[in-house]
């Protein structure tokens, strides 16, 4: 059973067992506009919750993608580097940024639910 949660930095994280998959939200992708460049972390990199893990750039903006939870990266989505347009096409599906081994499930529980995130976006 997987569950998805959201951060105030507009990342989503889906947890299956101890594997977390991270991407940016549709809202974030729309704010950025046409994405032109993505840099994803290499497998084996350890990141803390809130630490910089990936980079996403559009023509006019550049942004770090932060790790919503701590753990070790198991895979970066190499397909995004080749075709950054995927981020605009399917941000919350195909265009995940990286997968990681979740270190502390307590961190995940503290993140926003979909309803909370939608409410958060409305307030921006």
């Amino acid at each position: 059973m997987s569950e998805v949660r959201y951060t105030d930095q507009h990342e989503w994280v889906r947890v299956d067992g101890d594997t977390a998959t991270v991407g940016i939200t549709k809202f974030a992708a729309e704010q950025l506009g046409d994405v032109v460049f993505v840099e994803v972390p290499e497998a084996g990199r350890k990141v803390n919750a809130g630490g910089e893990a990936a980079v996403v750039e559009s023509v006019k903006a550049a942004s770090e993608v932060y790790a919503p939870v701590g753990g070790e990266v198991t895979e970066g989505n190499a397909a995004l580097a080749d075709d950054p347009a995927k981020v605009n096409a399917d941000p919350e599906g195909d265009a995940w940024f990286f997968k990681m081994k979740l270190a502390d499930s307590g961190e995940f529980a503290k993140l926003m639910t979909r309803a909370q995130y939608d409410e958060f976006v409305k307030g921006l």
Binding site: D34, V36, F37, E57, S58, V59, P84, A85
Partner: protein
């Protein structure tokens, strides 16, 4: 239709409807022009150089083995190529260029002539110092103008542009802090700042802490004071600020900064609003760069070269970088090594090779001498007057977030007047191109949503301003009336329509390559 005496139409008619493609692909005076690499042929050259016999014994076996790949063209072909390219550019010489914060003022040609005098243009930076006393005298005279106009005791001349000047100022501050045996890692930068400010602070090894703006478009002085502490090295503040407003509490802020043991860096990009009326030294500023290409009219040249001398307060003057220009009573001397420095000078290092942008110094001094102190003051006043005239004439049809009070040399609007019209901020700007104007600065400063920053400078006549105002008013009213034709897909009359920046960034093509060689994979 207006007809001249020979019976031919003297007005061009409507270009847009003339859809019939030409055979050549060119359209009247608008020529399509290929890349230089597509034009040349092997063996041709535009410079006659004798083909000399040369021994290879002194090349260490490192003579080039293959061809470089440069095209060959005769002089007329090269001249035509670059003349045609030039015609695809907008320029201040051809029209009003209202780019806020960039200061596109008239560039007098006298300045160009002076820079090309052999005594300035054809002297080497390392020839014996006794043979370049006139060049030193020129630098010294420019230093006198800069220190007098700013009310500051010293100036470092070598920085090559504004951002380079910022770095120079921060390094002087860093050296002064280190000389006190302190460590202060933090720099406060208003969120309205030019991008170079936080970039420079980070570049110089500091962490950047943003100071918010007030609703009125000023730096929040209370928030600034609250952020001061023993770890703050300096604040970097632009005055007049990037919203085109003078910071009314600037003296108070400077006092608070000094009380906290920090230094006050001022971004002098907007000095052209106050030169000859206000001396930054009187405001408590410790360091400020001066963009000679803005305030003192050295040409922007499509992006450079600039020059960014930095005026320094008494407290920072000893740390000015090499080289240092001295006068020993009989002649000038350029001190080029730290151990030759005297009089308590402790230069923090060197910003670049040689002595700075001499070619820009010559032009700036020609501007200053032409203007005189009275002309400099008049230029500032006319720049401020013209910006206020635009603000007053457009604020009822466009939206001005700080439209109540007077502005300085630039008038700030935002895009709320376009809300619900279906015309975007970008459409509005691009439609100005079809009207024969360069768009204003867009989306800067970041503190205002959809910012449109107009800086007319002192170089426009009232007739020119009135015409510009008429065009912008009409455009704003049409947008509000839902007449979107002239906005959608604009520009239509420029050498190019809108360009695909996304494609350019996704698969960068940054150089020409021969057709038979594929682009290297990214």
């Amino acid at each position: 239709m207006t007809m001249n005496r020979q019976g031919r139409p003297s007005a061009p008619g409507t270009v847009e409807e003339n859809e019939l493609p030409t055979i050549s692909g060119d359209r009247g005076l608008d020529h399509e022009e290929g890349l230089i690499f597509e034009l040349g042929r092997e063996g041709m050259t535009g410079v006659d150089v004798p083909d000399v016999q040369m021994s290879e014994t002194r090349l260490g076996g490192l003579r080039r083995k293959g061809p470089i790949g440069l095209p060959g063209l005769s002089e007329p072909e090269v001249v035509r190529h670059y003349v045609r390219l030039s015609r695809q550019n907008y320029a201040i010489d051809s029209g009003l260029y209202p780019l806020g914060s960039c200061t596109m003022k008239h560039n007098p040609r006298l300045n160009e002539k002076m820079a090309r005098l052999p005594g300035f243009g054809d002297v080497h930076p390392l020839q014996p110092q006794q043979t370049v006393q006139g060049a030193f005298a020129l630098i010294s005279e420019l230093m006198r103008w800069l220190t007098t106009l700013t009310g500051m005791p010293a100036v470092a001349m070598s920085p090559k542009a504004g951002a380079h000047g910022e770095l120079c100022g921060l390094l002087a501050i860093r050296a002064a802090i280190e000389a006190r045996g302190e460590k202060r890692p933090r720099i406060l930068v208003p969120e309205s700042a030019h991008g170079t400010n936080p970039a420079t602070a980070a570049f110089a090894g500091f962490t950047v802490d943003e100071v918010p703006a007030t609703k009125g478009g000023h730096v929040d002085a209370d928030a600034l004071e609250a952020k001061l502490g023993p770890d703050v090295c300096a604040i970097m503040l632009t005055n007049p600020n990037t919203c085109g407003l003078f910071e009314p509490r600037i003296i108070e802020m400077a006092e608070a900064v000094h009380k906290a043991g920090a230094y006050f860096y001022c971004d002098g990009a907007n000095f052209n609003a106050i030169a000859g009326r206000v001396r930054p030294g009187d405001l408590g500023i410790d360091a400020m760069h001066i963009n000679l290409h803005k305030t003192f009219s050295t040409p922007h040249g499509g992006g450079g070269p600039g020059a960014g001398p930095v005026v320094l307060s008494e407290r920072l003057a000893p740390y000015a970088p090499l080289p240092l220009l001295m006068h020993d009573g009989s002649e000038f001397r350029m001190i080029e090594h730290a151990d030759a420095a005297s009089g308590g000078a402790k230069p923090f290092g060197r910003m670049c090779a040689f002595h700075g942008q001499m070619g820009m110094f010559t032009r700036a001094l020609a501007y200053m001498l032409s203007h005189g102190r009275d002309g400099v003051r008049q230029a500032s006043e006319d720049a401020v007057l013209s910006a206020n005239y635009i603000l007053a004439s457009l604020k009822d049809v466009m939206s001005a977030p700080f439209g109540e009070g007077p502005c300085m040399h630039e008038a700030l609007f935002d895009d709320s007047f376009l809300e619900g019209t279906g015309v975007t901020t970008l459409d509005f700007a691009k439609a100005m191109i079809d009207e024969g104007y360069h768009p204003m600065t867009m989306y800067f400063p970041l503190v205002v949503h959809g910012a449109m920053l107009i800086e007319p400078t002192e170089s426009e006549s009232k007739e020119s301003l009135d015409r510009f105002i008429h065009v912008l008013r009409t455009m704003a009213l049409e947008a509000k009336d839902g007449k979107k034709e002239r906005f959608e897909g604009a520009p239509r009359l420029a050498p190019r329509r809108r360009l695909d920046e996304t494609a350019a960034a996704r698969k960068p093509v940054l150089r020409w390559r021969p057709k038979d060689l594929p682009q290297a994979a990214e």
